[in-house]
């Protein structure tokens, strides 16, 4: 309905009237179509009568509507197959029942679904395609599709593993699509086509054993396999399927409503799938990236009730997949999401709270990037605690405890996500936590993961609260890890400031700004300052003393809040731009900001953001500043990386925006040219850009694209320099290079690759020939190679 109305508003007058009358005529049909949609999409939800009787009833209704609404019904069912995968077997059963009543319908449905599958494969919608494969498998169980023809499709898929010169991610996906359908249809294939099925499995086995796994270290949440192995997804899936085979393809997790209709379904005629051949590979295709299976619990962690299935039990995969589908369907409504998770169909047979918790954290920690916003996970966990107040908070506390215990081998990116979540969670529960249990972390090197985690959590808690509250929330013994109270430091008001060369000017500046002077007037005041760089060179690149006096004073005056600081910057933006006209000046400006606000990381984050947005500083200046010696004391703190990533994101958003604008302008111009060539009237209402304007836009785009590339090159080069220095120093002093500092820094390098993987992949050849060359240290090179392996 909504789309109808939208479309109407775009059409012109004449169209609209004809549309309206058509709508009046068909409004009855629309009502029925809406009703069908609602009936079909809601079947299988909680109901007072049994699922079987609901399905039977719905099948009869739909059968009666088939003559008039066949196309619509087929379209709705195909949509449900992809959009509501958690109810897959409800829909396969429904299709089975309809097929038994009306053979032609079954044929048309299968045809449509196959067409959709081919389309998804062509348009690289691989997850949707995988769900259709699984659905087709389940249709064999419902006697809609002949087992042999499904097997033929599987054969075609697995044959991809024999192709030459293709990336592994391609063959991986086709194998994975087959493997994940087997819990549904394995038993049928085993009973009906055992020989051919065995052959298929042998091919898969061969493939699995020869795969490259260079990418795995980059994707693991923990570097250690203790207590739980962190397995590559296809290896794990294959182990689970082999177990399933050993159990004669019988699993205990899937609800199969079609079993109740066996007598009806076995009468039905089956359809043969048409030949489905995977589209051939080309360089442009983006296959899904591999993953590592996230595991944090095993049966020993669940104190009572049903046991958690083992890591190689197919049930573990099925539950995880089912819960993931529920999250995907409901993630935009956290309350519905929590309720849907807790009403999981087989909730009494599994330790549901633990499984939900594991899947949620698996999403939070997923590498290269999390599929959802961190706050989606955090707020849904809070809802789960509200709905299940007796058990969920305890399970979450246990989980937090376990994650804390495993911090030493946890990847930096994940430690940061964990800290952000934990602080957020605590802020919703009065910051109460049994901190005393973690007191040991106050006795070790503060750069070690545990004390560092606690310090970052407290810092994030502080940002959500205030200093006194956080100081009071932790025991005295944690005082060294509690952040200092955030305060602006105005050095020209410090004791002993008399020695500072800019003191007099600073005080004068303070006075004129307070008396509401113009930007020009501040320049007059600053003019009297000598340039300390003038002694060394004739033409100094910037004026550090003027920058120092001006920035310190301005930020001091705006120190009251973000808004005050922003207002101060806005008013004197012309002065800032003049003082920081080149990169050296900009870096100097940022250093002075650090001098004022070193105890208030959040202020530095928002100020840097402001300075970037107002184009007072460039992205590359920010990156160089963060890597500078002045920032070394804070280099392993999260906020530095918060600034780094936000800077990269700002750059890429800018590029995207210009790309879109240039593309649209080019399209408009081309369309206008075509119109003109066809002898149609030139319509100048459309604001068609000129050739010259479009070229200028494209030049500008190229410029920022180069800036973006340069930004990445700077970041990677500076990483290589500091890491090489460290490794060389350790070697010359014959000490272990694996220091806490090294862990943080090498993993931040990895993080830059992963967090921006789509962008960085564009530069892979430049990086290989310019920076990550074979002569650099293998530890650094490895990070690059693992990254490259993600798509090879």
């Amino acid at each position: 309905m909504a789309s109808r109305r939208r479309r109407a508003s775009f059409s012109d007058e004449e169209d609209e009237t004809s549309h309206r009358s058509k709508r009046r005529r068909t409004s009855e049909n629309v009502d029925i179509e809406d009703r069908l949609e609602s009936l079909i999409s809601r079947v299988g939800e909680k109901s007072t009568s049994s699922l079987e009787s609901n399905l039977e009833g719905l099948a009869s209704v739909l059968e009666a509507d088939l003559p008039n609404y066949k196309t619509k019904i087929i379209r709705i069912l195909c949509e449900c197959a992809v959009k509501l995968p958690e109810k897959q077997s409800v829909y396969t059963t429904l299709v089975g029942l309809l097929n038994a009543k009306n053979f032609n319908f079954g044929g048309e449905f299968v045809e449509m679904l196959v067409r959709q599958l081919k389309e998804m494969l062509k348009t690289e919608k691989f997850e949707e395609a995988r769900l259709i494969v699984r659905f087709l498998g389940d249709l064999v169980n419902c006697r809609v599709i002949a087992a042999g023809s499904l097997l033929a499709m599987f054969d075609n898929f697995v044959e991809v593993t024999l192709e030459d010169n293709i990336p592994q991610v391609r063959s991986d996906w086709y194998v994975y699509a087959v493997l994940t359908a087997l819990p549904w249809v394995g038993r049928e294939l085993y009973e009906k086509k055992d020989m051919e099925f065995q052959k298929l499995l042998v091919t898969i086995d061969n493939y699995i054993s020869k795969r490259q796994k260079i990418h795995v270290p980059a994707l693991r949440v923990w570097s250690s396999d203790s207590p739980h192995p962190q397995e590559e997804y296809l290896d794990c899936m294959w182990a689970q399927v082999k177990n399933l085979r050993n159990n004669k393809w019988i699993e205990k997790q899937i609800s199969r409503p079609y079993l109740a209709f066996d007598s009806v379904l076995c009468e039905a005629l089956q359809h043969t799938l048409p030949q489905i051949i995977p589209p051939s590979h080309n360089e442009e295709v983006m296959y899904p990236l591999p993953t590592v299976v996230f595991r944090m619990f095993d049966y020993t962690d669940v104190p009572e009730g049903p046991a958690i299935p083992g890591s190689h039990a197919i049930e573990r995969f099925l539950i995880e997949e089912h819960l993931s589908h529920i999250i995907k369907t409901n993630h935009l409504e956290r309350k519905d999401c929590a309720a849907a998770l807790l009403s999981f169909t087989m909730r009494n047979k599994i330790p549901l709270d633990y499984m939900i918790c594991e899947v949620m954290f698996g999403h939070l920690f997923r590498l290269p990037t999390s599929p959802y916003m961190e706050i989606m996970v955090g707020s849904t966990l809070i809802e789960l605690c509200k709905l299940q107040p007796k058990s969920m908070p305890l399970v979450l506390a246990q989980a937090a405890e376990m994650l804390y215990e495993r911090l030493d081998t946890m990847k930096t990116t994940c430690i940061e996500r964990f800290a952000n979540w934990f602080a957020y969670h605590l802020s919703n529960f009065q910051f109460s936590w049994s901190w005393a249990d973690w007191v040991e972390c106050t006795h070790v090197n503060p750069l070690m993961p545990k004390p560092k985690f606690v310090a970052e959590v407290l810092h994030k808690c502080l940002r959500l609260s205030y200093h006194q509250r956080i100081s009071n929330a932790v025991p005295e013994s944690f005082s060294a890890l509690v952040p200092v109270k955030p305060q602006a430091r105005y050095k020209y008001a410090d004791e002993g400031a008399g020695q500072l060369p800019g003191l007099m000017t600073a005080h004068r500046l303070l006075e004129v700004i307070k008396s509401k002077c113009t930007p020009e007037e501040t320049l007059v005041v600053l003019k009297e300052l000598p340039n300390p760089l003038a002694d060394d060179t004739d033409e100094p690149s910037h004026h550090p003393l003027r920058i120092d006096v001006f920035v310190s004073t301005l930020l001091h005056l705006g120190a009251k809040s973000f808004s005050h600081s922003f207002a101060a910057i806005s008013k004197f933006i012309s002065v800032l731009k003049m003082l920081a006209e080149n990169e050296e000046g900009q870096i100097c400006l940022l250093k002075n900001m650090y001098e004022v606000w070193s105890t208030h990381p959040q202020m530095m984050v928002v100020l840097t953001d402001k300075l970037l947005k107002t184009q007072v500083v460039d992205c590359s200046a920010v990156a160089n500043w963060l890597f500078s010696a002045d920032m070394a004391p804070d280099f392993t703190k999260n906020y530095v990386w918060e600034i780094m990533h936000s800077t990269i994101n700002k750059m890429s958003k800018h590029v995207e925006k210009l790309e879109k604008e240039a593309e649209e302008a080019r399209d408009m111009l081309d369309a206008a040219k075509k119109k003109a060539a066809d002898g149609l009237e030139y319509d100048d209402d459309d604001n068609v850009p000129t050739e010259e304007q479009v070229e200028r836009m494209e030049e500008r785009l190229e410029l920022v694209q180069n800036q973006q590339k340069r930004l990445f090159l700077i970041i990677f080069q500076r990483f290589i320099i500091i890491l090489t220095d460290h490794l060389a120093r350790c070697e010359s002093e014959s000490v272990d290079y694996q220091t806490p500092w090294y862990k943080w820094v090498i993993e931040r390098l990895q993080e830059v690759f992963l967090a921006h993987h789509n962008l960085v992949f564009q530069y892979i050849h430049t990086l290989e020939s310019l920076l990550f060359t074979s002569d650099i240290d293998i530890h650094i090179l490895e990070v690059f190679q693992q990254f490259c392996a993600l798509r090879s």
Binding site: I375, S379, Q430, L464, S465, Y466, F562, S563, F566, M603
Partner: protein, 126 residues
């Protein structure tokens, strides 16, 4: 399409920084306008958060509405967009109207509502 949210039931002591930290988790914030007491020019328990994009504002509606900040359950609502003047409370005594009539004791919002507390004061002076 508005990208601005009205945030209610804040403590009078909650700062712009705290609001930024929580709402910044949903997207890039354009500006925050603190609601002020018309007379005293101090925070009076509400604010506006404006995002750059509708999508980010929608995220905040989804994931922040009904969760806690400074130990209070805060409320988010769509706002038509900030207009100068709206940052001030519309209650008789300068704050928000709801703080005139409240009869409960709310530590984060200066104790009792204005009317009740003035009654209490009168009684004490008698």
């Amino acid at each position: 399409m508005s990208t601005t949210l009205y945030i209610g039931n804040l403590s009078f002591y909650t700062t712009e920084e705290q609001i930024h930290e929580l709402f910044g988790r949903c997207g890039d914030i354009k500006r925050i306008i603190m609601g002020l007491d018309k007379v005293r020019k101090t925070p009076c328990g509400f604010c506006f958060v404006e995002y750059y994009t509708r999508t980010d504002a929608e995220m905040a509606m989804r994931y922040v509405n009904g969760t806690r900040l400074d130990d209070r359950i805060i409320r988010t609502d769509w706002d038509a967009g900030f207009v100068e003047g709206r940052q001030y409370g519309r209650g008789k005594s300068g704050g928000q109207v709801r703080d005139e009539y409240r009869t409960d004791f709310d530590e984060g919002r200066m104790g009792y509502g204005k009317i009740v507390s003035s009654k209490i004061k009168t009684r004490e002076s008698i």
